[in-house]
């Protein structure tokens, strides 16, 4: 009988909390524990994926996820649901924190001689994402995006480039960057809807 109980507790522990976006916002505003747990369970993996791709370092990404999480929690008053979705606000917080870290002086000094360009691929290959089959299917679909459009979107969204930096990196005019970003997102909209 004890083993059955233990199994139940294990299962109970593993349950990820999921709320609707409105419920989540309400719970965070009320500073409820369930709000913090749901916030982590629902969005930490998506945010972590973005942060890891921008900073390219696992430990640093974990620190930044913590910074992001604290900032979301502590400055939640500045989130206005009339202006946009919760995730948009959170992912931009995460991206800004990550980019600021990359540009900070002590970070540059520490990683001057490190080749960080090639590690994106290894990160994608090494870490299998144990989420759900739906997400795995989505990733396959995403790979069908037109490569030149995807390249621009990834630089901005996952690497923290500005549109100007992306234009310079790829050697294309700023206008083309804008068009390609729009094209990539249009394709995503078609894929996901």
């Amino acid at each position: 009988m004890l083993t059955i109980l233990r199994r139940f507790l294990k299962l109970y522990k593993k349950v990820k909390i999921s709320l609707s976006e409105a419920e989540l916002v309400q719970a965070i505003r009320a500073r409820q524990r369930v709000g913090s747990e749901a916030l982590y369970d629902m969005y930490s993996a998506s945010l972590f994926g973005v942060i890891v791709r921008i900073v390219q370092k696992q430990e640093l990404a974990e620190d930044l996820l913590q910074d992001t999480f604290l900032k979301i929690w502590n400055s939640f008053d500045s989130y206005d649901e009339k202006k946009g979705r919760l995730f948009t606000w959170m992912v931009n917080l995460a991206r800004n924190l990550s980019i600021d870290k990359l540009r900070s002086k002590d970070f540059r000094n520490n990683t001057r001689n490190r080749d960080i360009e090639n590690s994106v691929i290894s990160i994608d290959e090494q870490r299998s994402i144990a989420l759900n089959p739906e997400v795995l299917g989505m990733k396959e679909m995403v790979n069908k995006l037109r490569p030149e459009a995807k390249a621009v979107l990834d630089l901005i969204y996952f690497r923290g480039y500005t549109q100007a930096e992306a234009a310079e990196e790829l050697g294309i005019p700023l206008g083309t960057v804008k068009t390609r970003v729009r094209l990539a997102i249009l394709s995503l909209r078609k894929l996901f809807n």
């Binding site: 109970y12 369930v34 998506s46 979705r85 992912v91 931009n92 990160i123």
Partner: protein
């Protein structure tokens, strides 16, 4: 409207969602949003697709990070949590199913213990009933046997033309003794009615012996005990003619001739 389409197609809304605009450009977009509420749905779709794009590239952070992070934020008292958040979707499902399972388990245990004690009670009752039943059927057996014996005796006593009923009376050796012997001269049948037997109880070394007096001489008809365990008619050796019957007390197994001073009862036909 063409201007609006051109505005959408410029890609500025995408960059707005990506956060890649100067504060001036951002303000411009927000003004446009106020002016043209239909732009809102456009923004929403861009947001949704970018969120799903991020989800498609999600990476699970180490398990240890979860508790570290959750412990680092300040939360309010747990008491009012349930009041404000009405739905705990997944969690509550497992919570309730767990609680229900535990409750069910406890109920089952109680039911089993209950049933067990009831079964025990029932078993002991069955044992008692069995005992009573045994007693009863023994009693019935006894009565049946008695009835059979009585019926047998009755059959004999109801046929005076066939059986001669001879009453033997006690001698001076046993004044209160008496017994009844039934005698059928045609079949040469002699029976002692144990039901009406009144003789002193014999010990293990002695037995009563029945004699027929035929033309003045004793003829051995066999031995019997006061305790034969039956109340019916006991058949003795046969004799055709007899004038009287007598009973003597002899050493166990009987004697070839009667010990006259141990004569206990005698009766003429």
């Amino acid at each position: 409207m063409d201007d609006l389409r051109a505005y959408i197609e410029s890609g500025v809304l995408e960059l707005y969602v990506l956060g890649d605009l100067t504060s001036g450009e951002k303000l411009g977009v927000e003004l446009m949003l106020k002016k043209y509420p239909q732009l809102k749905s456009e923004i929403l779709e861009i947001e949704e697709s970018l969120q799903k794009y991020a989800e498609a590239h999600a990476m699970a952070a180490p398990e240890s990070l979860r508790s570290r992070l959750l412990n680092s934020v300040n939360v309010s008292d747990a008491t009012n949590e349930t009041l404000i958040v009405p739905v705990h979707k997944n969690l509550s499902f497992y919570k309730y199913s767990f609680a229900a399972s535990v409750a069910l388990l406890l109920l089952s245990l109680i039911a089993i213990i209950n049933l067990h004690s009831q079964l025990k009670k029932a078993n002991s009752q069955v044992a008692i009933l069995n005992k009573a039943n045994q007693k009863f059927s023994n009693h019935v057996n006894d009565i049946e046997e008695q009835l059979e014996n009585t019926t047998q005796s009755l059959k004999i006593f109801q046929k005076p033309e066939q059986y001669k009923i001879v009453n033997l009376k006690g001698t001076s050796n046993a004044p209160t003794a008496s017994l009844i012997v039934a005698f059928d001269p045609r079949k040469a049948e002699v029976m002692v009615d144990m039901g009406s037997l009144e003789l002193p109880v014999n010990d293990g070394k002695h037995q009563y012996q029945l004699w027929a007096i035929v033309e003045g001489k004793p003829v051995d008809l066999g031995v019997f005990d006061t305790r034969t365990g039956t109340a019916g008619m006991v058949k003795m050796k046969s004799v055709k003619k007899a004038q009287a019957f007598a009973v003597t007390l002899e050493p166990a197994g009987g004697s070839s001739s009667p010990t006259m001073d141990q004569m206990m009862a005698i009766g003429n036909i």
